[in-house]
């Protein structure tokens, strides 16, 4: 622990002059040098100075040990996704926050604080914390630097910048000789690969993560990884494996009374049934999912949009229209662009397919092209436009969209 600055901190806090504190213990210049860390004082002098400040030397050393253990615990609880316990440890750390700058764990604490803000999804605060850390990065140890880069990648995932996150993960993974025993890292890597339409890679890293989480009995992360695997098996058309994942998930989430995840699992089971060309089953699962979502948030919109599409394909046009109108209105309120644009596309298509194609070209395609994701959807709409122009005899445009697919 840095006792010099600690003595200065308590002396200033208590409004004591250097002369008053040093009286009978050491000279004023000596105290000044101790406080500025330019001179190492012996333990006895430090003890006497702290005693006069009513601060116990032993207590301070104990606090340093406490900070170390709390930070270790904090990292573990984040890995295990234990939301309530994370809050308890963070509160305890906040209580001794004034001592942390004088300990050896100042950067570790600030890094974990960054991780905490990301965990909570407080992106603006996390950005401020990142900027504070960035200024200190030259003082980081190798491990602290690794954590800083890793957390920056997590921040990029949360902001939807998966391409950049992927670059950081690849660098970190390569520096580690392409191996890691960190389940959390592998899980995040699988998430990124999945978002970048690389289901094969996502399955590979997801399975590695799952193995580690199972060895750790890390139940929440097992559920999360199974969900991710289920989605990627679905996207790879490995339907049987996907069904196994989702059935397993439904059983366990019901058993663990994991109400937060259950509607998401039902939604993804619906997504799988839709891909398997079982629209009626898909509709059942989507509706089951929606009935368990009390809050009209992004997930609610995604499920409602799914219901709209299935109804549309089943020719239940009035039902579809009702869903798309709701999606349109909610996405406007919540600022969620994608489902809003697509719902509007369907609504226009109901009135005039010709106008819908123009809307597709003017609004939907530029939005989808603006992000590195949505590759599969872009292809679907390129095909649709190509087909449209082909029917119109505008072969130049038809070829133009076909060439975009390849």
């Amino acid at each position: 622990m840095e006792f010099g600055p600690l003595i200065k901190f308590y002396r200033t806090q208590k409004g004591i002059t250097q002369k008053e504190l040093a009286a009978g213990i050491c000279s004023i210049p000596h105290l000044s040098k101790i406080e500025n860390n330019s001179k190492d004082a012996n333990g006895e002098t430090i003890s006497l100075l702290l005693e006069r400040l009513n601060v116990s030397f032993e207590e301070m050393e104990e606090k340093e040990e406490l900070i170390k253990n709390l930070l270790k615990d904090f990292g573990e609880k984040i890995n295990f996704y234990l939301r309530e316990e994370i809050e308890i440890i963070f509160t305890r750390l906040k209580e001794i926050e004034h001592v942390i700058p004088f300990s050896d764990y100042i950067y570790s604490y600030e890094l974990y604080k960054y991780r905490y803000l990301l965990f909570k999804g407080l992106l603006a605060e996390a950005d401020t914390q990142r900027d504070i850390l960035y200024k200190q990065k030259k003082n980081f140890s190798q491990h602290e630097m690794y954590l800083f880069r890793y957390y920056n990648a997590v921040s990029l995932i949360l902001k939807g910048n998966h391409k950049k996150a992927d670059e950081i993960f690849d660098e970190l993974f390569a520096e580690n000789n392409n191996e890691t025993t960190n389940g959390e890292f592998l899980y995040h890597l699988a998430l990124v690969k999945s978002a970048l339409d690389q289901p094969g890679h996502a399955i590979h890293f997801g399975r590695l993560a799952l193995q580690i989480f199972m060895n750790q009995h890390n139940f929440y992360r097992i559920l999360h990884t199974l969900m991710l695997l289920g989605i990627n098996y679905t996207n790879s058309n490995i339907y049987e494996e996907a069904q196994v994942c989702f059935k397993h998930l439904i059983r366990n989430a019901e058993l663990l009374k994991e109400e937060r995840m259950l509607p998401q699992i039902y939604h993804n089971m619906g997504y799988l049934q839709d891909k398997m060309n079982n629209p009626k089953n898909a509709l059942l699962y989507y509706e089951k999912s929606l009935s368990l979502q009390p809050v009209k948030n992004q997930h609610y919109i995604v499920t409602l949009y799914g219901i709209g599409e299935i109804n549309y394909n089943l020719k239940l046009i009035e039902n579809a229209k009702e869903c798309f109108l709701q999606v349109k209105s909610l996405s406007k309120d919540l600022g969620i662009k994608k489902q809003g644009l697509l719902a509007e596309f369907y609504l226009i298509h109901m009135e005039s397919p010709e106008k819908a194609m123009k809307y597709l070209e003017m609004k939907v395609i530029p939005f989808l092209e603006g992000s590195k994701e949505h590759k599969e959807e872009r292809i679907r709409y390129y095909k649709l436009l190509s087909q449209h122009y082909n029917q119109q005899g505008n072969y130049l445009e038809a070829v133009n969209y076909l060439s975009k697919i390849t």
Binding site: L158, R221, H267, D274, Y312, M350, A356
Partner: protein, 49 residues
Amino acid sequence: MKKAIILLFTFSLLVFATPENDVNNQPSYDLAKISIQPAQADPIYPPVG
């Protein structure tokens, strides 16, 4: 006479070759169904944490 038979034959060909529903009276959603399928919604991803 020969000319009249040829004309009649051509005319009958025209009548038979014309599709019954040349005018598109399908509702627009039928068209949509043909062209938009297969469409799929998004999955919901597990939390980043």
